[in-house]
């Protein structure tokens, strides 16, 4: 019992066969088909085509690419010869370790006779970890290995890289999607039950959300939590979605009494510093309720805004530290009354109308050729003026005039009508 506790949970709860796997059903079938096909062809003595000799599992880390290979091998009675990023993968090393281990039977298999005649799958893990300098010729060796192999080869990698184009050309690619949040949280709950661990659902959800589909990191986080590396509340503060993170940052910043601590909190958050004062401004009203406190904070934030404009127009970044002092310390000094706590909805600041989208863009673009105004000005000024001119007429003449304007400006009259009304 004690020994199993020392095992990392990731290893302890690694699925042994495909039935225990989570969320890989279609890919498992593809991998099994590939191995069976390889065996059939080889037994029939046919020549196997290049792309049927190797497959490549591509997907983000921690979703179980390596695990699924072991599980499939276990199901079909194969053993796995693995080579991963921790090994040196120069041309010679690959040839020596892989080719020899395939052709010869190792010592262990003599001791365990049931393993003696097992067929082998070659797993080359984390192909994108092959570096250009220290693993010289590694890719070339793998390519030649695939060409003359008598065993099915499975490669795994995280992202496409142009360095491995030759590998991509001669293998079949199987994309693996990242896991869904619900799958991860269900599995975490199962593990927690097995370990007799009491965890709130909220925290399990937070871990699953934070993992971003990475099962391995989620399980590691759960283990770290159970071993008391950090407390529950700290975990929630640390690992929330970025927007909520900003909010808890705001609340914790307003609670501080000293400027130095507030500054420390601000420096820990990674967000675009150019708009940090605008974010504080947009969300501050929910936290600070006292009118006088608000006034003081608005004043400081405006100072910070002016300073930021100076920094950006003069490119004088030596002033930046004063900006951070103002935004953190200057703000908390203004708080005299108690602040409201609890969950609030996060607001994004209004960053000008550059994110704004108009309806009828093409019509506006055509109108721009005549009035030479920006789209916003056309909507706010020109269209009301046309409306004003036409407002005297009754419905039929009004429509006639609109068609007249439309033909004159060579635009669609129906669209213009929609706009003017």
């Amino acid at each position: 019992m004690k020994k199993s506790q020392e095992l990392p949970w990731v290893e302890k709860y690694r699925p042994k066969n495909t039935k225990e796997m989570v969320g890989f059903s279609t890919n498992i079938k593809k991998i099994k088909d590939f191995i069976k096909n390889f065996e059939e062809q080889q037994n029939a003595g046919r020549k196997i085509r290049g792309s049927q000799k190797a497959i490549l599992l591509e997907g983000p880390p921690g979703i179980g690419k390596t695990t699924v290979v072991y599980a499939v091998a276990n199901d079909l009675g194969y053993s796995v010869v693995e080579m991963n990023a921790s090994d040196i993968r120069t041309e010679n090393a690959i040839v020596e370790t892989l080719e020899e281990s395939i052709s010869s039977t190792d010592l262990l298999s003599y001791l365990m006779p049931e393993k003696l005649n097992r067929k082998k799958i070659i797993l080359i893990d984390e192909v994108d970890g092959i570096s250009g300098k220290s693993d010289r010729g590694g890719v070339k060796a793998i390519v030649s290995l695939i060409k003359k192999t008598k065993n099915p080869i499975i490669l795994t990698c995280n992202f496409y890289d142009s360095k491995f184009k030759s590998l991509y050309d001669i293998s079949t690619k199987i994309p693996c999607r990242s896991l869904q949040k619900a799958t991860i949280s269900n599995l975490l709950k199962e593990i927690a039950e097995k370990e007799n661990l009491k965890v709130d659902d909220e925290i399990v959800e937070a871990i699953a959300m934070n993992s971003g589909g990475d099962m391995r990191s989620a399980i590691n986080d759960l283990q770290a939590l159970s071993q008391g590396v950090f407390t529950d509340m700290e975990f929630l503060d640390m690992h929330r979605d970025i927007q909520e993170k900003i909010f808890s940052f705001l609340q914790s910043m307003f609670e501080q009494k000293t400027i130095r601590k507030a500054r420390d909190i601000l420096s820990n958050i990674d967000f675009d510093y150019k708009i940090i004062h605008k974010i504080i401004h947009a969300n501050m009203k929910a936290v600070i309720l006292d009118r006088k406190d608000r006034k003081e904070i608005f004043n400081t934030l405006l100072d910070a805004d002016n300073l930021m404009n100076q920094i950006m127009t003069r490119m004088d970044f030596s002033l930046l530290s004063y900006f951070f002092d103002l935004v953190s310390g200057g703000v908390i000094v203004s708080v005299t009354q108690t602040i409201s706590k609890g969950y609030k909805k996060f607001k994004m600041p209004n960053l000008g109308n550059l994110r704004f989208r108009f309806t009828g863009e093409t019509l506006l673009e055509e109108l721009q050729n005549f009035f030479y105004k920006s789209k916003l000005d056309i909507v706010n000024q020109i269209i009301p003026q046309i409306n004003e001119i036409l407002s005297i007429y009754d419905e039929p003449t009004r429509n006639k005039r609109l068609v007249q304007i439309a033909t004159e400006l060579d635009i669609n009259s129906a669209e213009l009508k929609k706009f003017v009304n």
Binding site: S162, P349, R357, F370, F371, Y372, K375, I389, E408
Partner: protein, 347 residues
């Protein structure tokens, strides 16, 4: 298109010399054009003063018929479409087929400059014209993307000239200002404004009663295009134009709304202040313009003179700080909370 239904287009100046009230500036510009060595230009002045008109007709004057192909107008306030964003993202990846150290890398470009400005600037002028023009409206809205233009201005200066228009020169970076000739726009003088309005009235057989051109001049801040539009709206009612009709058309709601905001803020009715504020923001005016109106309205308030004095002091402080501010929301909040605080102090 000889006679447009909309007077605004019908009486749009067709050449540089037709622009009323800008004789001095036009003389300067034609002199610049004659030297064959046109610098980059920066036009600055409030909205509605005719910056775009002068810029556009100046390129017509220099390029002649080629102005349709060799001149492009870019509006910085127009939002980027999704397609343009996607295109920028796609092109920022340099394919591995290319030879060179940049192959296979990813670059981040300022999206606006990359999708709207660079494609035009990179191509040489068409049909034997030595130069081409790029006009950028509301240039200050580009904010930190302005840095990306510095290099373009120098790199393509052998054939591309830029005319930058702005109403907020304080937020334009120094390197840009030093590369440009600055031209300041003033309100056009009243006599030439009056002359133009009376000329149009004569052509359209209108009878102007009272001091109509003065009213239009004051309410539109000397913007001829807007005045002509109002005139046409009035002419649809009757051929004799009364000051009353003009008053009805030229919206004075903004003034009333600002007055109400002041009153509500001083009596600490914060809910009503919120409504007034959202109404004011619908007009889409520059913040300093609102401050201007507020300064007028302060003296109509039914309060002690001392409070008026304090309010004007507050307004002056805030107006000074708008020079360096990028966030209108922050300015409005500062103003309102300052006013409410004053109200609380004297109640």
């Amino acid at each position: 298109m000889n006679e447009s239904f909309l007077w605004r287009l019908k009486y749009q100046p067709k050449s540089l010399n037709e622009i009323p009230g800008r004789e001095e500036m036009i003389a300067n510009l034609t002199q610049i054009a004659a030297t064959q060595d046109i610098p980059h230009l920066l036009f600055t002045g409030p909205k509605g003063y005719g910056k775009m008109e002068v810029a556009r007709l100046f390129t017509h004057y220099v390029l002649g018929k080629g102005s349709s192909t060799n001149c492009k107008i870019v509006y910085a306030s127009d939002p980027l479409t999704q397609e343009e964003r996607d295109e920028t993202r796609r092109l920022s990846y340099i394919p591995t087929k290319r030879i060179g150290s940049t192959a296979g890398r990813r670059f981040t470009w300022p999206a606006f400059i990359f999708s709207r400005i660079k494609p035009f600037v990179e191509i040489k002028p068409i049909s034997f014209h030595p130069i081409k023009f790029l006009i950028i409206d509301d240039f200050h809205l580009l904010e930190d993307q302005q840095q990306g233009l510095r290099r373009l201005m120098e790199k393509y200066s052998s054939y591309c000239r830029m005319i930058l228009l702005t109403d907020q020169i304080s937020s334009i970076i120094d390197p840009i200002i030093s590369r440009c000739n600055i031209i300041f726009f003033k309100q056009i003088d009243f006599p030439s404004f009056k002359e133009r309005i009376e000329f149009i009235a004569k052509k359209e057989n209108l009878i102007l009663k009272g001091n109509i051109s003065k009213i239009l001049y004051l309410s539109t801040k000397g913007s001829l295009a807007d005045s002509i539009s109002h005139l046409q709206a009035a002419a649809t009612i009757s051929e004799e134009i009364d000051p009353d009709i003009i008053f009805r058309l030229v919206k004075n709601d903004l003034r009333e709304e600002v007055g109400l905001l002041l009153r509500h803020a001083l009596s600490q009715q914060s809910n009503r202040v919120k409504d007034n504020l959202s109404n004011i923001q619908k007009y889409n005016r520059v913040f300093s313009e609102i401050i201007d109106i507020m300064c007028d309205e302060v003296f109509k308030l039914p309060v002690v003179e001392l409070i008026k004095c304090d309010i004007v002091n507050l307004l002056s402080q805030i107006d000074f700080r708008t020079i360096d501010s990028t966030s209108q929301d922050l300015m409005y909040d500062n103003l309102i909370y300052g006013l409410i605080d004053l109200g609380a102090k004297y109640s």
